[in-house]
Symmetry: C2
Amino acid sequence: MFTITKKDEKTKARLGVIRTAHGDVNTPVFLPIGTKGAIKSIAAEELKFWGAQMILANTYHLWQRPGDGLIAKAGGLHQFMNWKGGIFTDSGGFQVFSLGKNVKVTDQGVTFRADLDGSTHTLTPESSVQIQLNLGSDIALVLDEFPAAETDKKIVAAMVARTTMWAKRAMAEHKKLLAHSINPGQMQWGIVQGAIFEDLRKQSAEEIRTLEFPGYSIGGVANGGESPELMYQAVNYSIPHLEEDKPKHLLGVGTPEQIVRAVALGCDSFDCVVPTREARHGKLYVNLKPQDGGGYYTMNINLEKYKEDFTPLDNTCSCYGCTNFTRAYLRHLFASGEPLGIRLATMHNLRFYLNLMQNIRDSIEAGNFDQILKNYKDQTIELKAQ
Amino acid sequence: MFTITKKDEKTKARLGVIRTAHGDVNTPVFLPIGTKGAIKSIAAEELKFWGAQMILANTYHLWQRPGDGLIAKAGGLHQFMNWKGGIFTDSGGFQVFSLGKNVKVTDQGVTFRADLDGSTHTLTPESSVQIQLNLGSDIALVLDEFPAAETDKKIVAAMVARTTMWAKRAMAEHKKLLAHSINPGQMQWGIVQGAIFEDLRKQSAEEIRTLEFPGYSIGGVANGGESPELMYQAVNYSIPHLEEDKPKHLLGVGTPEQIVRAVALGCDSFDCVVPTREARHGKLYVNLKPQDGGGYYTMNINLEKYKEDFTPLDNTCSCYGCTNFTRAYLRHLFASGEPLGIRLATMHNLRFYLNLMQNIRDSIEAGNFDQILKNYKDQTIELKAQ
């Protein structure tokens, strides 16, 4: 299911290939997010041209609407949204826990009131498996429980225990149902929790490891509040206790700079709403040349200073917007509320992320990833100070 | 500037070519609307693939934001929005008159308070010319004055007189400034008004005709309220008094059925917000096969009955949405508020219109346009009654 093709000598970064039922995925890889079965403003197939290999879809949203049963009738999510590459689904738990005070967790599962219509539902380790089998994703995740950023260690310990117990049940359910599902090639990956506690991360990793999942997600690092340094620490507490030759996905991370750092720690895949969400607000990533300090900065296209700027958004980028339009035009689209603005911005930011991943893979191959690690910085604040 | 290449024997329909500074335009032609320098959700260049030849941009909106001066600095609207085909601009008057009670008309021009910031502006025949020259469109219209649907004949007569007086001033201004403008190949067309009154339409057409514009717009037929039959009548009152060998644009018309009828009356070009506006509400045009009565109907993709409809939106259509997605998926995108839904719907409706125009041109060429005229009906209501 996963082959490491090259290891970086100076960091824990590695090149690899995840074999999915919908093609090989070269890692390190970034997964654009198609929350509700669509990438904002973009048809999934368009992403293929820019090097997207796998997308992440949210089990919770699709379960609630249009319903996993309907998607199964359509032949699965690949067919429903006409995406021929890999699909990774989360367990649905993250969105359920985000609903806040209407959420109740027991050993059985999570009971909550849906945000769409206020009706009460329960998500269990078993039903999460069933929903993801109906979606027919290539990589499915087990349901887990995790804390908000700063939580009492005793509470986290109980959550780690429950995550392990749920993982066993999810695995049993998956084994029972997989063969007769839409995508019998679906893999099920485990999840490591434990918040910022070294011993709990170790315990969680070791317990999940005994279940012999083909891959892992490292969870609970992007649920708000924690600093990037604590996030890197949580990754460092987890990875050494997992088999080196299995793929590791870092859930919900991150900014371009964070992804580079996490690759160096041994993470293989990433998903994050940042590039698409920032795009909707007119925040766009621009590459800096080495002579300008390297790395990148985030520009706010809404600013007055771009009003008569007839240069491309990013002259190193070959996306549709950068090769066809100026900053002035893009700013005009945002100022006028023209939906084309968000589309061009989303395309650009995703292209930026996908190009970054290609550069990371190329540099590991060429043996100079440590140079990217050293030089790749978000210079937005530095540029503002000038 | 305009060549008629074939005349239909049974109607006044004709095939023609308008020569613009940005390429030949084969008529009858439909102009997608790029109000603010963008077609909703779509990059203008994408339209090229589906046969769009010329678009209409609104002088009022671009004057107000980002400003015609900025667009001139960008090298004109073609360059600003990266559209290499023809651009047709209106005079700005229609939008100004739509502002309602804050509008004051004198012989000098129209004074109004802008909807964007409440500031006071005056649009004159001369400034409308100047703005359109800054935009660098291929066909510019003269400023006119026109009534709401049902107006006193005396008032309309005064408006016709003012429209003629303004046309002379606009022509003089255009002659003065054209050579040193961004697009020295810009044509200026006249406008015929006169509401629903036969003698006033005749008078307006004859007065405008003496000015020897290279083409005409027929105005005041789509400003709300009037029935299609009155609109056809207004066209019939106007066209016989204009030279046969000059192109005639019917402003703001119309539904697919209305366009077919107006082609039969001798109209050569059309613009209308209907296909793009309907698309944003999930109203989509679907072709009916001859055995199903021919013509077309408008489907509301939001309806429950399409929830599990895994067939293409329109299986006669080769647009991106129809060849890649199902009605169920499109409905899901609308239900979820995914912007991709509006994009696919807009692409489909524009493709439908552009295909219709191609069919009209082909049928005139083949000598059977009268069959389209006879059979091409909007069957939406008939289908609902079944």
